[in-house]
Symmetry: C2
Subunit: 248 residues, 2 copies
DNA sequence: CGCTATATTGACCAGAGTCAAGCTTTGTGG
DNA sequence: CCACAAAGCTTGACTCTGGTCAATATAGCG
């Protein structure tokens, strides 16, 4: 039950991601900047908000739109026949969700808001119509999907070849990329997912996540208090993310 | 150094995959069946053959084409900073290779022939030109990439949540899908990759692969002799591929 | 202000990795 | 065509990382 998002709501607009920083920007920009000004805003149908725990879509839902996060975060996971789940990605502002359902026409995965989260919805039919007029739009979409495939491959490497310490260090580093570079120590960062979710995503248990976070803190690499985390030593984290040693 | 493939070579043509069974079919078919007959064969630039161990492309090579396998098999892998590799997929007849390089414009992965392998090459520029005239071509490409993303997600589930037995059973089952359904026992199937490669792909060691293959044979599920394998009990394999038990 | 979900920490254990030895297959050159 | 080398496969013994189970502690929520 997504409720319509009110542009004039009391929520602080400044925290929303700027369109220029959105993964959709090159799509939207092409559309609104095209030769025909009537294309303006043709891509985005609506914006809406979900609260923590609400589903963006569920397994079996039919696919008709892709989504971009304006503010907030989600987790996306697939479900095995026996009920086990694998969180395939966490998404934050500017990231796209739903690309995996284009072929089948329905979702095999589920997406849930981890906190109050605001989305842009791009109906796939809008995208298809527009892209007949703007071939570059097509290319941008291919680029976006190509990037999603690359991310999947990096995830396979992490899950298949890294030990627990490397996994967590790698993930924490990927969070830093979104933050101000180089700044060390960084401003506080909020982990919106639970330890269990983080473990699930990385192929570990929540207990292992706890233990390693504690160790990183003892070693002065991070400083955390529940969900809030400071990164104190980026370069050490980078070393830990891929220890040099013989190939397995 | 790919050598030009000779259509009139003495190799048995019957073993090549039929175009109708190729992952590219819907692309090629659209192109050669379009309203403008001059589009015929505009997609495929050439066909060529690689021998075992020869590279289709290497890390850093610039991207200009995607490839379809006509006959044979390849492995594709990515390389971590520390030199560890993760085989992200094995490809057989009808499958597409190179989709991960579209965004960057160069390959971050490498692809190697596991045996003598014959390819169709589709220059990406051909595809882009044609797709301006045939919007359906674009949609087919999105579908193909969407499927690649799904495969990646299934791989994450396998690597992150399954134990060694389940991993191998799942992989063996995926091989069966390509074979004649239901037939049990199936005709002999050739594993073209080494035990080490198979282990690498599944997040295991070659020793573990050996031990589990031996166990499967003792249990009458498969029968193998070196690289040749017969599937004797599909349903048991299906049970092993996802043991019912509590979610981790 | 209690209740529930989440997080932390410890003790113990098992699955898969490592190391090592021997075997088989494949490929090469004489 | 054979001999030898190299690569790949198999099996066993042992180790160790990270999972499991369990007991608190803490945070967030109504």
């Amino acid at each position: 039950m997504p409720k319509q998002f009110n542009e004039n709501s009391p929520e602080p607009a400044c925290e929303f991601i700027a369109c220029e920083d959105c993964g959709l920007y090159r799509l939207c920009h092409l559309a609104s900047d095209g030769e025909d000004p009537s294309l303006s805003n043709a891509l985005i149908k609506r914006r809406f908000v979900l609260r923590r725990g609400e589903y963006l879509y569920r397994q079996g839902d039919s696919f008709h739109a892709i989504y971009a996060i304006r503010l907030g975060s989600t987790k996306t996971y697939i479900i095995n026949e026996d009920g086990r789940t694998q969180i395939t990605s966490f998404h934050g502002p500017g990231e796209l969700i739903g690309l995996d359902a284009i072929e089948a026409g329905y979702f095999d995965s589920e997406a849930i808001a981890l906190e109050t989260t605001s989305f842009c919805e791009i109906p796939f039919s809008h995208f298809q119509e527009l892209s007949r007029q703007l071939p570059d739009l097509q290319h941008q979409m291919l680029a976006i999907m190509s990037r999603a495939i690359l991310r999947g491959q990096q995830m396979m490497l992490l899950l298949g070849k890294k030990d627990a310490t490397e996994k967590l260090a790698t993930y924490l580093l990927s969070l830093c990329r979104h933050l101000d570079k180089d700044a060390s120590p960084t401003p506080p960062f909020k982990l919106t997912m639970s330890r269990g979710d983080l473990g699930n995503h990385l192929g570990l248990t929540q207990e292992t996540i706890c233990r390693i976070l504690t160790r990183f803190q003892e070693d002065g690499i991070i400083c955390f208090q529940n969900k809030t985390i400071h990164f104190l030593n980026h370069s050490r984290l980078r070393e830990l993310a891929s220890k040099t040693r013989a190939d397995r």
